[in-house]
């Protein structure tokens, strides 16, 4: 009697597998090498291979479910994989330039970063709540370690502990939400949940609704949506800057990847009463997130902390795209995340160049007159700030245009107005950086600036991506629109 092995379809998860294998390779080479820098380049090459594998998958027809409908590689997965590869690849380059200065160069850093990346990819590909949870934990635990990786710094350790405690808290809610939904629908598979919920009789929706609420809360932690954002400023500020850059882009995108898929596939079916509920819940989150993020960012004098709040605000803008639930809105959110990956990592990269010791060199005062003694660095920072602000002809501008336009077309006029007002407020703190760099006299605290080649490549790529998305947004938008989530 032969046992028939289920078809697993490893090929569908090729990018994830490549990333995991690379992290194993990094750990092995870590034993042999005394100079740790090649490990970073190995990681970078591995990520490029993963990106290439995604590219090949994309050119092939059809979307393959894998591991018995546990995961799928559709256009949506590809697009997010692209974001993760961009985010992780740039972060590796930033780390190569930054860790040496801090005496943190080591194999575990890159291995953890790659594992986190694989977790993100799994979240984006997962079509089962258990797989999504698995990816979420793989990502989160790696990030806890990364946040605390500077064991000589109290701030870094504090960041790690805070992230871990609050993250554990969030995971508990998330799991509880899965349990409730399983109880109501009889499935953890996203399509299965949708089918199961259709059969829920009227008057008995409270159970799955509460489950949905808990799921949204769980994701809200990861994307740093208000009021579940509290860890963000403390962790982003305390963690090494290269880690912050990676977290702010990768973890956020991964959270959105899973959130959007769950909301649209399981709870977004036609005639679903759940749809109305989550639209309102997410819209509330979006308003709170944008407004609180931007207002608090105004009050910051530390650039790193300011960018932490700004990243909260940006999550709010992306949520505006998610609220619509339309193909246009979701594509806009995807585009936004791609633009955000380039401009935000670029901004953090500049910060990491200027940062000296713990929390020294990140104060706004110390950016005074930067344009005077480092013209190129100041110009790059200006590009990233302008893009984050939504200045025309840069990636961030089109992200906002597409998101706001989608909200208007889906009838969320008030939401769009709030979003526009918010981006007006945000201009103040982004421009403040530029004003300090270009219009203030050189600060006497300015330090020597050392730009190594990895950092130069990182900055160059980030600026290139930011400008490219600004000059030819229609291409990326096509890619995002053909992501296949709407069949």
């Amino acid at each position: 009697m032969g046992i028939e092995l289920p078809s697993l379809n490893f090929g569908a998860l090729l990018p994830v597998i490549i990333v995991i294998l690379t992290s194993v390779m990094v750990l092995i080479f870590d034993l042999a090498l005394s100079d740790k820098r090649p490990l970073g380049w190995i990681s970078f090459v591995g990520l490029m291979f993963a990106g290439g594998a995604g590219w090949i998958q994309q050119s092939m027809e059809g979307f393959d479910p894998a591991f018995q409908n546990m995961a799928i590689t559709d256009g949506y997965t590809h697009f997010f994989n692209l974001i993760f590869v961009v985010g992780a690849g740039l972060s590796v380059l930033v780390a190569l330039g930054y860790l040496g200065k801090k005496g943190l160069q080591g194999g575990e850093y890159y291995a953890m970063l790659l594992l986190a990346t694989s977790g993100m990819m799994i979240m984006a590909a997962g079509t089962d709540l258990m797989i999504i949870f698995l990816g979420l934990e793989l990502m989160s635990i790696s990030l806890y370690v990364l946040a605390a990786i500077n064991r000589y710094s109290r701030a870094s350790l504090e960041a790690g502990i805070k992230y871990f405690l609050l993250g554990a808290f969030a995971s508990a809610f998330f799991l509880y939400g899965i349990a409730l939904i399983y109880g109501a629908s009889g499935s953890t598979n996203l399509n299965g949940i949708g089918e199961g919920l259709k059969a829920v009789p009227k008057g008995y929706e409270a159970l799955p609704l509460f489950g949905l609420g808990l799921l949204i809360i769980g994701f809200s932690f990861k994307i740093a949506a208000v009021p579940f954002h509290w860890w963000t400023p403390d962790v982003y500020h305390g963690a090494p800057t290269s880690v912050t850059a990676f977290m702010s882009v990768g973890a956020k995108a991964a959270g959105f990847a899973a959130l959007i898929r769950v909301l649209t596939v399981s709870f977004g079916f036609d005639g679903s009463m759940f749809a109305d509920n989550w639209h309102v819940a997410v819209a509330t989150l979006a308003v709170l997130t944008m407004t609180l993020g931007n207002l608090t960012a105004l009050a910051q004098n530390d650039v790193k902390r300011m960018l932490a709040y700004s990243s909260i605000a940006h999550a709010g803008y992306v949520l505006v795209g998610v609220v619509t639930g339309t193909e246009q809105g979701i594509s806009a959110a995807l585009f936004y995340l791609m633009a955000y990956a380039f401009m935000n990592i670029g901004a953090f990269a500049v910060i990491s160049v200027l940062e000296q010791q713990d929390a020294i060199g990140t104060n706004l005062e110390e950016y005074a007159g930067l344009a005077g003694h480092h013209r190129v660095l100041a110009m790059l920072m200006a590009i990233f700030m302008l893009s984050l602000m939504g200045f025309p002809m840069l990636g961030g501008f089109w992200g906002k245009v597409y998101v706001f336009l989608a909200a208007i077309e889906a009838g969320w006029i008030v939401l769009a107005i709030i979003a526009v007002l918010n981006s007006g407020i945000a201009a103040y703190y982004y421009l403040r950086v530029i004003v300090h760099m270009y219009m203030s006299p050189v600060s006497d605290q300015s330090h020597a600036i050392n730009l190594n080649s990895a950092m130069q490549v990182a900055l160059g790529l980030a600026a290139f991506g930011t400008i490219l998305l600004g000059v030819m947004p229609a291409r990326i938008m096509d890619l995002a629109a053909s992501s296949g989530l709407f069949g």
Partner: protein, 657 residues
Amino acid sequence: MVEYVWLTIAFPLIGVLINLFFGRLLEDAFSKWFKRSEVTGFIGSVTVVLSFLVSFAIFLQALGIEHFSHQVKLWDWITIGDFHVAISFLVDPLSIIMLLVVTGVGSLIHIYAVGYMDHDEGSARFFTYLNLFVASMLVLVLSDNYAGLYVGWELVGVCSYLLIGFWFFKPSAADAGKKAFIVNRIGDFGFALGIFLIWSTFGTLDYMEVFHEVGASHGEFASVINWVTILLFVGAIGKSAQIPLYVWLPDAMEGPTPVSALIHAATMVTAGVYMIARNNVLFAMAPNVSLVIAFVGAITAFFAATMALVAFDLKRVLAYSTISQLGYMILAVGVGAYAAGIFHLFTHAFFKALLFMAAGSVMHAMKGVIDMRRLGGLKDKMPETYWTFLIGAAALSGFPLITAGFWSKDNILVKAFELQQPNQAFGIILYTIGIITALLTAFYTFRAVFMTFHGEPRDKNLYDHAHENRRVMTLPLWILAIFSIGAGFLGLPSKLGLPNWIEDGWLYSVMAESHEILEHAHHFAHIGFGLEIALLSISAVVALVGIFGAWHVYIRYPQIAVDTARYAGRFYQLVLDKYRVDELYDTWIIEPGKGLADILAKIVDMNFIDKTLVDGSANSVRGLGHIMAILQTGYIRNYVMVIFVGIVVMGVYFFLL
């Protein structure tokens, strides 16, 4: 080859990037062997020459192919709902001829500038701007849609601002830069409105689609087309320096001379003429607007020529002559002779670049002095500059038969003479203004020649200092001189049985549709062989009389000029003061505007808007921010508390609502 047309823009842009980021570094690195301007100028020149070579290859490919027209699409630029803009180029005979002018004359100007800027520390910045100027102009002429046209239109405006104000430490240069930019903005405003109107009427910004819709219509767009053409022409008034917005061009002399050559000959001012020729279908369907355009052009031509008669600054004489010649081109496109307008643009590019660069050569040799009252007798000191300037001057004057200016100007005058819609009288009036202007042109041009190069040196010190310039500066002059003569033979009068290659061959397909419209409306009377010969002879005589007159007044009896000036008294002073148009604008527009701005700024803005609205909202928002920041205590127990509240609120919402 045509699919590589984007290279023509890419090369100068590469030059921009290199000179912008590494210009100073490279100059320092090679400073042992080369002058500063030679390093960055080499990069700037090579990129434009490469661009020219690509253009020329495209030209060769298009040669002999009927209806050569390709749209080369690079990528979709903006897609928002129904609004599509592509980065896409239209390569047809019209854009190819503009390509050749911009990159060809542009190359020579770049090479010349290597020598001209050799005393200037800012050469890296200069060549960055210069390359950007060329790239912008190419965007303008190559785009296949109005959005791209507008982008190029604005970019050349920015570049002119940067280059005219290149010596920004001189207040006059900074002011001239601002003036050019602001005056252009006024025209651009109308231009933008015109484009908006096109978009809202036709739902597309693609030339071909718009022309197609217009062509297929049966008069239902008539009033829209009138408005569109008026608004587009307002843009051309600003960019091509027509009355009343010509005032920026004479002041544009404040920039380095190669910039003047570039603005006046190859780029910028030709944009308006090109734009009307490109939209010939629209303008042909708006005969009344076209008539207004023709008169604006003719009056501008005459008006500017009178100012050139009395100016003493050599470069200013040339600047007024540019305005005057642009008037001819606008006159041409106004009467519906689009090909004639482009032909004059083509020949004018050569001889005007030549004249400016020769004047710059004088200026370079004379320590920056350009006032003709201090020059004189330079022909033996600077023979190459003299001969090339003379050739350029002959072309500008329309010296019969052997110069390009004669043929292209005569072409326009004949077309004006032939105009018979709505009334033959208009054609005669336009022709008369044109021919009188031609007389003035010949006179003032040779006045400049005689005052600068002939007679006795008026300033002995300067004269002794003078010397011929380096080869890098004189060689471009000779090349341009050859074209100032030869280019005319591309457009000989076809009525005499001579080949008019440019009108009947090269540009025919671009203008075919408007040609048909005009034929159908009996727009032109077709004059015969005899009348054509007569008109040609009048042109020739007028040019010769003008030249002779200048010789008579400034060489033979110099006292005449002085006497006339004294005799004309106040009128002479009025013309010398440029009809006090600048002062008029100053009194009636700028000062009241400033007054209004003062009132608004000091009373409305500072007290109300700034203090109450802006500061008030900003302070309250920042106050809120500080309050929010207090919530971030750093204690996990507080965070968990707030999160718990959030969960309870969400639970209540889901359960109770």
